[in-house]
């Protein structure tokens, strides 16, 4: 009798293993959230510094903001990579295989689209929409990628989409919603994922 149960469990495990990349680390989400909040804090200081003026594209302030955004992004990706490699090793899995490749591609397609769209928006001076757009595309990217990894991630994507829509409804609070979506949400979901999955390894 136990053999039958084990058979079914083995089958299910093999189905998951071959279609989902399960080495994503929850800690990576928490760290990304922390980096985002720190970055948002520095950007708000830049806003305060420029109080009453518009920040033009050519100004050092804007360049600083871009630098901070890039810094947050790079730090998040590098941390995520390191933690994921660590987790994969612990699980005895490879990091770069067909499931992780599928995950990466399906994540990057909407993400790059959003990124290029945001850059084009900047060039056309539609600054107000940048925060909502990045949130929305990021949320969609996550939902798309969730098919190829731990399904819970889907809810992170949905939450970020809602935040993105709220950011569009309440224009002018881009930075706050951005901090909420990229910062707080990542910390919360990262923690949930960490306690749900990583601890048991």
């Amino acid at each position: 009798m136990e053999n039958y149960l084990k058979d079914i469990q083995d089958i299910k495990k093999m189905m998951d293993r071959s279609s989902q990349f399960l080495s994503l680390s929850g800690m990576a989400g928490i760290m990304a959230g922390i980096y985002a909040l720190i970055g948002a804090y520095f950007v708000s200081r830049i806003y305060d510094f420029n109080y009453g003026h518009y920040i033009t594209l050519e100004s050092t302030s804007f360049k600083m903001m871009i630098l901070i955004a890039a810094g947050v992004f790079v730090l998040s990706v590098v941390t995520a990579y390191i933690l994921t490699v660590q987790k994969a090793k612990k699980q005895g899995e490879t990091v770069w295989n067909s499931t992780s490749k599928r995950l990466a591609i399906n994540f990057m397609i909407p993400l790059l689209t959003g990124g290029i769209f945001a850059v084009l928006l900047i060039r056309n001076h539609y600054y107000g929409l940048i925060a909502p757009i990045t949130l929305l595309f990021y949320g969609l990217s996550i939902i798309n990628a969730s098919k190829y990894t731990v399904r819970d991630v889907r809810y992170l994507g949905l939450t970020i989409i809602i935040i993105g829509l709220l950011a569009t409804a309440f224009m002018g609070y881009g930075l706050e919603f951005w901090a909420l979506g990229f910062g707080v949400c990542h910390i919360i979901y990262g923690s949930v994922m960490h306690f749900k999955y990583d601890r048991n390894q």
């Binding site: 009798m1 039958y4 083995d10 279609s19």
Partner: protein, 78 residues
């Protein structure tokens, strides 16, 4: 079959890695499944390298589902 049922296709190396079997082992099991018409084997050449892909057939998927249902029934009985 578990792998081929949830993925559109799987190539030789992926199956080998996931199942942890030798080349010969995998090839002979695959031949057996193909004989039952549960899977399709597609051999291609990418440049000079051969690439073998495996896909589940409709019959294969049905057989797999029947197998799972049977297992579940057996478990429920006890």
């Amino acid at each position: 079959m578990s792998i081929l049922v949830v993925n559109e296709y799987a190539d030789f190396n992926t199956l080998k890695e996931l199942l942890g079997v030798t080349d010969g082992n995998l090839a002979s099991h695959a031949k057996a499944l193909e004989a039952e018409q549960y899977i399709m084997i597609e051999k291609q050449f990418i440049g000079k390298k051969p690439k073998t892909r495996y896909m589940a057939t409709k019959d294969g998927r049905k057989a797999f589902k029947d197998h799972i249902d049977a297992l579940e029934k057996l478990i429920k009985k006890s």
